[in-house]
Symmetry: C2
Subunit: 164 residues, 2 copies
């Protein structure tokens, strides 16, 4: 894998890629800006709170939450500290295995999610769902799943010394 000529991108592939990059850059930025201005939380913080709110007992192990949020444990730990200082969650050792840490959504955290979700959902609809036909939306799901598979379940997202 060195001096071989790579298959270059043809004009159509490149146009598609550039459009994709643009969306990849701007969609998270737009959602982030909207959440930030309307609720004072970042897109990522919302993801964390929403992830907890979906659990039946509103709690999850840090590692599970990191997997769900597709982020490193380190990033989640810093974020959890900030959310904890705002009173939206607290952390406690897992009573069944002290090596794990449970993040638990407080009542205030639950209220925050409930107050924030409608506006956020509306924005997701406006920028994504309503902008597409039903068929395109279905295609997007299949595309996303394929790409996620291609990236692989290699954590590699903060796993320090991943052997990849």
């Amino acid at each position: 894998m060195s001096t071989e000529e790579p298959r270059w991108l043809d004009a159509e592939e490149q146009d598609t890629w550039l459009a994709m990059v643009k969306m990849l850059t701007r969609l998270p930025a737009a959602l982030d800006a909207d959440l930030q201005h309307t609720s004072g939380v970042s897109f990522f913080e919302y993801q964390v709170l929403a992830g907890l709110s979906m659990k039946s007992d509103r709690r999850a192990r840090m590692s599970e939450l990191a997997e769900f949020s597709a982020c490193s444990l380190s990033r989640l730990s810093h974020t959890a500290r900030r959310l904890e200082s705002k009173g939206w969650l607290y952390r406690t050792p897992d009573p069944t295995d002290g090596r794990y840490t449970l993040a638990v959504l407080t009542d205030a955290g639950w209220e925050k999610v409930v107050a924030t979700a409608p506006g956020h959902v509306a924005e997701v609809r406006r920028l994504l769902i309503d902008a597409l036909t039903k068929a395109q939306y279905k295609q997007l799901r299949q595309i996303s799943e394929r790409v996620n598979d291609a990236i692989g379940n290699e954590p590699c997202l903060g796993a320090h010394n991943a052997p990849c």
Copy 2:
């Protein structure tokens, strides 16, 4: 915009959205990690250098480059300073209008792009293009364009006091 019930996401919409978020998070991270490890540049830095390398005279106004990279002028300015300190580009006032600044790719910067591009293209192929059928790839282009339109051409990406 207050007490009205929002149209919630049904199960299928939510699954699609979660898959999309996952891709949105992981694809840039994967490309970033690959570039970082193989070439020591970030995905964004590569975008900037590549953007310049595509111009016939290897130069562009900062604002033009920011538009292409879908980033704020501030971010580009900081990044340009770092790239400048590595000798990959330099900045100079536009001789035709002193209000603009031209970013110019140096020979070393050109070499960097040439050395980095093949591996990066291969990674884009591996994670995206080859993971999809030709039809899906075409769909992705249309989807990206629609979403980009929905986000709008509102800069809002670092335009300080955007009236949105």
